[in-house]
């Protein structure tokens, strides 16, 4: 008997619905079109954005947003990091005692709101960051500006002049680097005061809005989705690109497909494999820029084995730096073993360590652990940290060091690291500004090694008590001669290489994939120095 599944109205209705579904599946894509010439669409990661307030921001990609929507007093010259260009500052001078920096503000500048930009706005903005005392305040604290002294030390002298006094003498380039970073962005005081609630300096409003005078103004921020920027026509220089759209595309493969299909103009987070393929095809231009971000192993001195200098050195000889770089991160990191990244004043571009198992074993025997030991390593569950941690685990096993990997979310491993509860931590350190002190303070400065210390930098987190190196870091910070300062950092790095609980392995390399015809995206060693001002599309 032949079984008839259906007939009549029901069957026809089902067939019609099925046909409609198939049509829907077949898609309705309109004619494929590239993005318009005056609009640039960039795929990046926007999940770091928790606020848009420059006084509160501390993560990397948000710094890039601030750099392009706000002006600041000065900016470092990417071609020569020892030089600075005025942003809103027309000129500046340092007092004879090296403590007071006076800035003359350009006239005729305006905020996006139309309000005039004055010396009062500049001084208030810097005071505000210190008084808010959020994440960004830590950068200003580097030159002694705190919420206790900001009102006294940052002053408006007249309508076009401000002065900033530091708590002690620092190298002038260091102070200028700090004042050229995002926490010193110039904010529209009048606008923010109109939105202030209590003593919040307009912070609640500015978390989701913008009050700058930079090249681009904010049109819309949709958290974890997109940021739309519009050219500021009142900007002091002409801008070619009318609109910039930053889209959150977390998956690298999706970014690659989108740039190949002309749906985006720039992809910022492609994997080494995708970059290889695109480079071979030759249809997309890939620019490599070394970043001020170092990947390292932190060895906690609270672990008696890891505290031994011979063990620390042995571990440095066990790592196969070139092998890991070549096989796992061939285009996105390069081997770098010193604490100052390439391009920084005083950077030592030398990588003395390579894999030498025999030497490492001899050092382990000398340390009294000839058969190695067992240790735990905390690793964040993101790529490429997991893969690198596994390679490191295999490398250390050659010397008998058995590593147990503990994989967790980044915030969990970081929390444990900050509490000094780790054995080995694999992590990254990014400079806030391109002055050597940003990294020297991180790796080679620990004024108080007690658990109650207020200064929880990397040396502290690894319980590395270094009174002498801390003094040297401080001395280099105060050195006003650039040449002598560079020499001090070189000496410190040599000392650090020979004896430290840090195995610095790689320096990050930013790989920016750009469609043909797009020019002028200036990518610096830190996100705070990425500029959209010269962007053009043919």
């Amino acid at each position: 008997m032949k079984r008839v599944l259906c007939n009549g109205v029901l069957c026809k209705a089902l067939a019609a619905i099925a046909a409609a579904s198939v049509l829907m599946l077949a898609g309705t894509r309109m004619a494929e079109a590239a993005t318009p010439k005056d609009m640039l669409v960039m795929a990046t990661l926007l999940d770091e954005f928790t606020t848009l307030d420059p006084g509160e921001i501390y993560e990397l990609v948000p710094q890039e947003y601030v750099a392009n929507t706000y002006d600041r007093l000065i900016r470092v010259d990417l071609k020569d990091p020892a030089r600075f260009n005025g942003d809103v500052a027309q000129s500046w001078a340092v007092s004879a005692d090296g403590l007071t920096f006076t800035f003359k503000i350009r006239s005729g500048l305006k905020f996006h709101s139309g309000n005039p930009l004055t010396a009062d706005d500049v001084a208030w903005s810097i005071q505000r960051t210190a008084l808010l005392d959020k994440g960004a305040a830590a950068v200003l604290a580097g030159i002694g500006l705190t919420k206790e002294n900001a009102l006294q030390n940052v002053k408006k002298i007249d309508d076009s002049t401000i002065s900033i006094t530091t708590d002690q003498k620092y190298a002038p380039t260091f102070v200028l680097n700090v004042l050229g970073s995002w926490p010193a962005s110039v904010l529209d005081r009048k606008l923010l005061e109109s939105h202030a609630k209590g003593n919040d300096f307009g912070n609640e409003w500015l978390k989701t809005n913008e009050a700058g005078s930079g090249a681009y103004k904010l049109v819309k921020w949709t958290a974890n989705d997109s940021i739309v920027l519009q050219r500021f026509d009142g900007y002091r220089m002409p801008l070619a690109m009318k609109r910039i759209v930053m889209r959150h595309v977390p998956e690298a493969s999706s970014q690659r497909l989108m740039i190949e299909n002309s749906d985006i103009d720039v992809a910022r987070d492609l994997s080494p494999d995708d970059l290889d393929t695109l480079t071979k095809k030759g249809t997309i231009r890939v620019t490599s820029v070394p970043q001020a971000t170092l990947m390292y192993l932190g060895l906690n001195n609270k672990n008696p084995n890891l505290a031994k200098p011979d063990v620390q050195e042995a571990m440095k000889w066990l790592i196969d730096y070139n092998g890991i770089q070549h096989n796992i991160v061939r285009t996105t990191y390069k081997v770098h073993e010193t604490f100052l990244p390439e391009g920084f004043l005083g950077a030592l571009n030398t990588n003395p360590y390579h894999q030498d198992v025999a030497k490492a074993k001899a050092l382990l025997a000398k340390a009294g652990v000839p058969n190695g030991f067992t240790v735990k390593m905390d690793v964040r569950n993101d790529s490429p940290y997991g893969e690198i941690a596994q390679a490191v685990q295999a490398n250390l096993a050659l010397g008998g060091i058995k590593v147990e990997l503990i994989s967790s979310d980044n915030k969990q491993t970081l929390g444990k690291y900050r509490a000094r509860q780790h054995d080995i931590y694999i992590g990254e350190w990014s400079a806030d500004y391109i002055d050597p002190h940003s990294n020297a303070q991180g790796f080679a400065w620990n004024p108080d090694n007690s658990d109650k210390s207020s200064f929880k930098m990397l040396a502290w987190r690894n319980s590395w008590d270094i009174p002498q190196l801390t003094k040297e870091t401080q001395a280099a910070l105060e050195e006003s001669s650039t040449a002598k300062r560079a020499q001090r950092y070189e000496a410190m790095q040599k000392e650090f290489l020979a004896n430290s609980p840090f195995v610095i392995m790689f320096q990050k390399v930013s790989q920016v994939a750009v469609r043909p015809g797009v020019t002028g995206l200036e990518v610096g060693p830190i996100f705070d120095l990425v500029s959209y001002r010269d962007l053009k599309k043919q």
Binding site: S21, T50, A141
Partner: protein, 356 residues
């Protein structure tokens, strides 16, 4: 007689009153269960969330903020208070309609949910629709043509739907239909050119663009949603066809089906009216379950398609201990489950006379 009538009427009144009391009691009991469910849901989520070793201040202040800044933020967020006090404050705020602010987006959680939940709802609804339209008839056909080619196809789809990773399938779908064939648009809900052209009324771009009469926006949004919806629908098709096939096979072997055929009823009437009519209730439960599963948000699909839905929102919030966002999302997902259960119960009465 008058006295007897009065007594009867009094009795009737009492019964009627009792029936009213009974109904009221049922309603109160249901509301109490609802309240206990929500408080339990919030309590479990809250205490687990507070116990995971992630410091929410890390996401808020970064790793280099001063100890003073940390201490001040801890007090400002009320994290210095005992856990139970924090929980009671949160429940009080929820009762006042305040889900708090998200640490990650700096927006009120309710505004975030209004943005991300419709994106998931739109995707899940379309996927479930496709799943029902294809999966249910496929399951019926597979049962009726047992061990024939259509049955093999259904079983293969069922197997593939249980074993293929959604992440891989999504990437392959993008590669084929977006990158090679150019049939659909790529990741995201809409092209930047069309973004913001229609006012948000329902949160669904498809519905809002129809309401605004913006057909270009509608077509663009449709071309973006088709592929992720189809990928998720594939899993719904696999699940629904498998379950439908199983239910139908059981019914088709019953004696009443033999009797119906012996009585000379047409085959389509036997299949759709009698056999399918009897599986409607369990099938409804299965569909509701599949739909509610999709409404939780499919995190991996959302990541590949850069789809700003509640799945990725909730995951991001969890990983950063953004408890207001976690609790708010949990509440919404819980409410969705309860609403779907209620709807399913109501539909039982339509399909099954015994439930009336």
């Amino acid at each position: 007689m008058a006295a007897q009538l009065t007594a009867f009427q009094r009795l009737q009144g009492v019964l009627a009153r009792h029936a009213g009391v009974r109904r009221t009691w049922l309603l109160v009991r249901w509301l109490l269960m609802l309240a206990v469910t929500f408080v339990g849901l919030l309590g479990v989520t809250f205490f687990i969330g507070r116990k995971i070793p992630i410091d929410p201040l890390l996401a808020m202040l970064g790793e280099r903020a001063s100890a003073q800044a940390y201490a001040a933020a801890r007090v400002a967020l009320g994290l210095d208070k005992p856990l139970i006090v924090q929980f009671l404050i949160y429940v009080r705020d929820v009762l006042h309609g305040n889900l708090g602010m998200s640490l990650l987006t700096s927006n009120p959680v309710i505004d975030d949910i209004k943005r991300v939940f419709p994106a998931t709802l739109e995707l899940a609804t379309l996927s479930t629709f496709i799943g029902i339209v294809i999966g249910v008839p496929l399951g019926v056909a597979a049962a009726v043509r047992h061990n024939r080619w259509i049955d093999h196809v259904a079983r293969f789809i069922g197997l593939a739907g249980s074993s293929l990773p959604v992440f891989w399938l999504a990437l392959m779908g993008l590669l084929l239909f977006y990158a090679k064939l150019h049939w659909v648009s790529g990741p995201g809900r809409i092209d930047p050119l069309y973004d913001g052209l229609v006012d948000t009324r329902t949160g669904s771009l498809l519905v809002d663009s129809i309401l605004a009469g913006e057909w270009d926006v509608f077509k663009n949004a449709l071309s973006h949603i088709v592929l992720p919806a189809a990928i998720l629908a594939f899993y719904s098709i696999a699940y629904l066809s498998r379950m439908t096939r199983s239910f139908m096979l059981e019914q088709l072997s019953q004696e009443y089906i033999v009797t119906a055929r012996a009585m000379g009823l047409s085959e389509s009437r036997v299949i759709w009216r009698h056999a399918f009519g009897n599986i409607a209730v369990p099938l409804l439960t299965v569909i509701a379950l599949a739909y509610s599963y999709l409404l939780e948000g499919s995190v991996l699909t959302e990541i590949v398609f850069a789809w700003p839905g509640i799945g990725s929102y909730l995951t991001g919030a969890l990983l950063n201990a953004d408890m207001n966002a976690v609790l708010g999302s949990t509440l919404v997902i819980g409410a969705t489950f309860i609403t779907l259960n209620l709807l399913t119960d109501a539909l039982y009465r339509v399909f099954d006379p015994r439930a009336r």
